[in-house]
């Protein structure tokens, strides 16, 4: 005999497994601190590349002037400025990443908890049938 409630539950769970569940299981495999640390590290790498790209464009944009002024400007002060901007940019980006990842981890854990609860419920349906 078909149990409609069980079928609805299984449909929900299958839908979750195929969609959001995959990502959530990946996130759920990490401890909270590990997940956030890995994501922030990735962000630092990506942010550094993005910053380097923008900096390279800035240099290329006015390459001739830059080369002419290269010996006139205080290179140490210039590098210091670049590093300060880089530090500010990375700090803001890392904080944003931290906030997003914390929210995502909490959400994934909540969804997984709900999923495991549904698994138990499904198991109880089968036990009742036996």
């Amino acid at each position: 005999m078909l149990n409609e409630e069980r079928i609805v539950l299984m449909t929900h769970m299958a839908s979750y497994e195929n969609g959001e569940g995959k990502k959530n299981v990946k996130i759920g495999n990490y401890f909270r601190s590990d997940y956030i640390a890995v994501q922030v590290l990735k962000s630092v790498v990506c942010g550094t590349i993005a910053y380097a790209v923008v900096f390279a464009l800035y240099i290329f944009c006015d390459f001739e002037t830059f080369m002419q002024d290269l010996y006139k400007v205080d290179l140490l002060a210039f590098a210091k400025n670049i590093l300060i901007y880089y530090g500010i940019f990375m700090a803001v980006y890392a904080v944003l990443t931290y906030a997003v990842c914390t929210y995502r981890y909490a959400k994934a854990k909540k969804n997984l908890k709900n999923y495991y609860h549904n698994l138990k419920k499904l198991n109880s349906f089968y036990n009742e049938q036996k």
Partner: protein, 392 residues
């Protein structure tokens, strides 16, 4: 309204039934329109500006994931830029790379907005997107909308400076890059449009989340008005040459499209709103429940009148459901030689609104019935039965 709701249910039923065909066709059409528009706007590489290439790539996009459409769109635009100049390609690639590294790495789904925005700009209806995004997505999609606007202005800068870049020599690489970057960053029109669209998305999102009647309608109208006001004020301050009539008409169209989205996504009946109040040990609860508008689709009834011989001993037969849906049971008269009556009850699909939003399941869970009543005569010769079918 009932007719519209019935049409909506029918559309949902058709979509759930033919989803496997509709989705690839829709992807194909979107890819075809996007790539054709891109070729129309840029078209510097003549090999790409070819209908056969566009058709082949669109066909590929029809069965590949949606992300591939974005990839092909980016690839097409970069190749056109390369045909114009290597420096333009460099700037375009850097813009895409920075967008991907800083934002779309987190939300790859939102990248579709970046493709749709230049397309809607080309169709002169970009005002639809911020309102639609505000209604359907979260506040973080502001960045996607901003990136979409930036990509549109990147294409515009390339198109506007194409002749100047062509006249420049190979030695003027930095001048070409400067021209491109100044064209993008120094474009005040872009800043105004990004600001207007970002504020519109946030206004629409905040209002549609409010617990007020007709929140979605208020949100879309407020969003459209905010958009118009900011664009016009920006035009006055920075002289961005925004068409007032175009903005007004575009905003009206945006509200119409938003109403269509609302009809399919958030169709509720505020006249039947219920407000209840209760409490438990820890809290007082003030609950406002707004029922969804739904209508049962008209069902197809099949009446069969059969005249046939019944074998003795056949008291009851149970048949399988036709076309694999529902159940069917048949009861026949018990005595041979007498006039029997056979009744077939079939369950046919009818659209009933599903709280889970899974329209696929609704197809097999209808409550409609079709009744077949047959008259059987024992004396009638075999093979001379008269069958009638009435459909209404």
């Amino acid at each position: 309204m009932t007719v519209l709701l019935e049409i909506k249910e029918k559309l949902k039923l058709i979509y759930s039934k033919y989803e496997a065909f509709i989705l690839p066709v829709a992807k194909f059409l979107l890819a075809f329109i996007v790539l054709n528009t891109l070729n129309g706007r840029m078209g510097y590489m003549t090999k790409l500006d070819n209908i056969a290439v566009v058709l082949i790539v669109s066909l590929m996009c029809s069965f590949l994931p949606t992300g591939c459409l974005i990839l092909f769109g980016a690839l097409f635009s970069l190749l056109h830029m390369y045909a114009l100049s290597l420096e333009v390609l460099l700037v375009g690639f850097c813009v895409y790379l920075v967008m991907f590294l800083l934002y779309f790495r987190f939300t790859p789904k939102d990248s579709l907005v970046v493709i749709l925005m230049p397309l809607l700009f080309a169709m002169k209806i970009p005002y639809v997107l911020p309102i639609a995004v505000g209604l359907l997505c979260g506040p973080a999609s502001v960045i996607s909308v901003g990136c979409g606007v930036a990509v549109h202005y990147l294409f515009q800068t390339v198109s506007a400076n194409a002749s100047a870049i062509n006249t420049m020599g190979e030695a003027e690489s930095s001048a070409k890059i400067r021209l491109m970057i100044d064209g993008i960053i120094g474009n005040r029109g872009m800043i105004v449009v990004i600001a207007a669209f970002a504020i519109t998305v946030i206004v629409v999102y905040l209002i549609r989340r409010m617990s007020i009647d007709y929140a979605w309608t208020i949100a879309m109208v407020a969003g459209a008005m905010t958009n118009i006001v900011i664009l016009l004020v920006g035009d006055l301050i920075y002289d961005t040459n925004i068409s007032v009539v175009g903005t007004l008409l575009g905003s009206v169209l945006a509200v119409i499209v938003a109403k269509i989205i609302e009809f399919f996504r958030f169709c509720v009946d505020y006249s039947r709103t219920e407000k209840v109040q209760f409490e438990d040990d820890e809290y007082y609860y003030y609950v406002k429940a707004v029922p969804k508008m739904s209508v049962a689709m008209s069902t197809k009834t099949v009446k069969k009148i059969n005249s046939q011989r019944v074998k003795s001993g056949t008291s009851m037969q149970r048949n399988g459901a036709p076309a694999g849906r529902g159940t069917s049971s048949q009861y026949r008269g018990q005595n041979e030689g007498s006039t029997g009556r056979s009744v077939i009850t079939e369950r046919t699909g009818s659209a009933s609104r599903s709280a889970y939003g899974n329209s696929g399941r609704a197809a097999g869970r209808g409550s409609g019935k079709s009744v077949t009543i047959g008259t059987t005569t024992a004396d009638a010769p075999q093979g001379t039965s008269d069958d009638y079918e009435e459909l209404f």
